[in-house]
């Protein structure tokens, strides 16, 4: 009953226009399935058997990417309900909790973010313990480190958006460190040295913390700045580098293994 129906669907012009190969049952069609699909062709068509064992990769890199996608999707949905303005931000989050059907969005977004950080650390530990950062993969390890930093910044900027006590004070603690940047923070060592003719260049309104907060303390401008960074700038940067990261895995010889 079902099988003739499937056979019919697979014989239609519509199906064959989407999938230009038969059912992946023999070697040729299986290779085609990977090569002719824009998403799957991130992979090579064949891989080392030991390289894809779960006990070798722990699947942590893939998990990180999955969580990135989950964050992107739940994040876009959250943007429908949230206004990055001091007057509305907190109330919007409360409303999200009370009025939105199947209101798991914020939970998925928040716990997914924590899980993503853990997954990245474990991915790095795996890559480290297997020595997979060694030549020819040195550069890709560096790309990965930058992705780690971007992920932590994504998490950090997202922390502020609910605009509750946890949010503003966690960000205050974090950004106070910016004030202490050597040379570039008002409270930092040697910042007095940056002056022209006795006029200091590094002041409370021009230092590293001000660049981050768009204010001298966490306020309205900070919320907008973090929102834009969190929803646009950092995800774009991450997506770009993820593309580079994946591309380089293939160019550097695929999943690592004994030379």
């Amino acid at each position: 009953m079902i099988s003739p129906l499937l056979n019919y669907i697979r014989s239609t012009q519509v199906w064959n226009s989407i999938f230009r190969h038969g059912i992946p049952r023999d070697r040729r069609t299986r290779v085609m399935a990977v090569m002719s699909n824009v998403f799957l062709h991130l992979h090579p068509v064949a891989v080392r058997k030991s390289g894809i064992r779960l006990s070798f990769t722990w699947c942590m890199g893939g998990l990180t990417f999955f969580l990135f996608l989950a964050e992107a999707i739940s994040g876009v949905l959250l943007m429908f309900y949230y206004r990055p303005v001091v007057e509305y931000a907190y109330a919007d989050i409360q409303a999200l909790r009370s009025y939105v059907t199947l209101g798991l969005l914020r939970e998925i977004h928040r716990w997914g973010a924590h899980a993503m950080i853990i997954a990245i650390w474990l991915h790095m530990m795996r890559v480290f313990l297997t020595g997979s950062y060694k030549p020819p993969r040195e550069f890709n390890w560096g790309v990965g480190v930058i992705l780690l930093v971007i992920t932590m910044l994504l998490s950090f900027t997202g922390y502020l958006l609910p605009w509750d006590q946890l949010a503003i004070w966690a960000i205050t603690v974090g950004s106070n460190m910016g004030k202490a940047t050597p040379f570039l923070g008002t409270g930092g060592p040697l910042s007095d040295m940056l002056a022209i003719g006795g006029v200091p260049l590094v002041t409370a309104r021009s230092d590293a913390a001000y660049l981050l907060l768009a204010n001298t303390s966490v306020g309205e401008n900070t919320l907008m700045r973090f929102y834009v960074l969190h929803c646009i700038a950092l995800p774009l940067a991450a997506a770009t580098l993820i593309a580079v990261h994946f591309w380089r895995i293939r160019k550097d010889g695929g999943i690592s293994g004994p030379l």
């Binding site: 998990l63 390890w141 006590q165």
Partner: protein
């Protein structure tokens, strides 16, 4: 339901365990638990990796950990409140994840190292054995994705995302904490000023990580689990990750209470606890205690000992290492690679050094120059 079960268990089994709680509280202070528990544990982890990674042994360790970690929730409400705080739940997952993955990696390293010794092929060795991505890899990925999605959804159903009271710029909570994954850095604030703990050290973690593949010229251990062939690299990296990152995060989140005072896991977070500030600067120790003279007026003369010490530590020590204990490594790496490695190493080592001096001599700063905001 889970919390009511724990409350019940707590009512049943409390009271007699006061001595145990007191012992753990006293033992958990950093000056005791870091050198006498976490450091020996770390050494054992590396020295005895062929023993503890045996499945039965590791399983016993896991059970012991879980009994202590989760069982303690039944006997103490302070500890239960900390562990069950929704934003701390990821830390429990991180600890279990790191522990499990450490075992997974070191188990394979132990097997591989035995095989290398016996001249047998590695677990990962199958050069000609290729499989097609469809179906072998895409199905693994699909299954992982389904499991991950399930876990994430169940986690989200069980645990609502916390939302505290609306932001009040005039009322900081005590303690104010950064997000948990930055708490290793916040914990370093106990020992260093923000310019070090928040800017220089994290900056050097990043530069050190990026530089690592260029510094580590050891051609062995590329693409397979091993410890025996990469002892130095793995020891340094794991010391940084496990002790200076993960353990400090646990201290920062679980054991730092109001005013960033230290509290044992079974201790009530008393906001009025008075801790005497007894820390002294190196300059005070030198001019006052040693020479019995007043502090010189010129700040640079006053801090001369600290300035010389820091100069020696950061600039001369790498050179001395290259000439003595690390001579072989220096010859292998060449000067640029070696000095990049050595400078990162001595800066990283400043943290344990400062910890030890704080615990033994109550040292506050090597160099204390408030005149130019430079305290180290």
């Amino acid at each position: 339901m889970l919390s009511s079960m724990i409350t019940l268990a707590a009512a049943a089994g409390s009271s007699n365990l006061e001595w145990f709680k007191e012992l753990v509280n006293r033992f958990s202070v950093p000056e005791i638990s870091l050198p006498l528990f976490f450091l020996p544990l770390f050494v054992l982890l590396l020295v005895a990796y062929k023993v503890w990674t045996r499945p039965l042994f590791a399983g016993t360790l896991l059970v012991l950990f879980c009994v202590f970690y989760f069982g303690s929730m039944a006997i103490d409400e302070n500890y239960r409140a900390i562990v069950m705080k929704p934003d701390n739940v990821p830390i429990t997952m991180m600890l279990l994840g790191v522990g499990f993955c450490l075992w997974w990696g070191f188990r394979q390293a132990a097997i591989n190292d035995e095989r290398i010794k016996a001249g047998q092929p590695l677990i990962e060795e199958d050069k000609d054995d290729k499989v097609l991505v469809w179906p072998d890899l895409v199905y693994t990925e699909l299954i992982c994705m389904v499991i991950a999605a399930t876990v994430l959804i169940v986690w989200s159903v069980l645990l609502p995302a916390p939302l505290e009271s609306p932001a009040n710029p005039a009322g900081p909570p005590n303690p104010s904490k950064a997000p948990w994954y930055f708490l290793g850095l916040q914990e370093m604030l106990v020992y260093f000023d923000p310019w070090m703990a928040g800017v220089v050290l994290p900056g050097m973690i990043i530069t050190g990580l990026i530089a690592m593949p260029y510094i580590d010229t050891n051609p062995k251990g590329n693409g397979y689990y091993t410890f025996a062939q990469r002892k130095f690299a793995i020891t340094v990296w794991l010391f940084g990750f496990l002790i200076l990152w993960v353990v400090l995060i646990v201290f920062g989140t679980f054991l730092r209470g109001p005013n960033w005072n230290f509290f044992g896991p079974f201790q009530y977070w008393d906001a009025h606890l008075q801790v005497p500030l007894t820390n002294v600067n190196l300059s005070e120790l030198f001019w006052g205690d040693l020479l019995d003279r007043p502090l010189p007026a010129n700040p640079y003369v006053r801090e001369i000992v600290g300035i010389v010490f820091v100069f020696l530590w950061i600039c001369v020590l790498p050179y001395a290492l290259a000439r003595t204990v690390m001579r072989k490594m220096y010859e292998q790496l060449g000067s640029v690679r070696f000095y990049v490695m050595a400078i990162h190493l001595v800066v990283m080592a400043m943290l344990p050094l400062k910890m030890v001096l704080r615990w033994t001599m109550h040292l506050k700063y090597f160099v204390n120059l408030p005149e130019i905001n430079l305290n180290l």
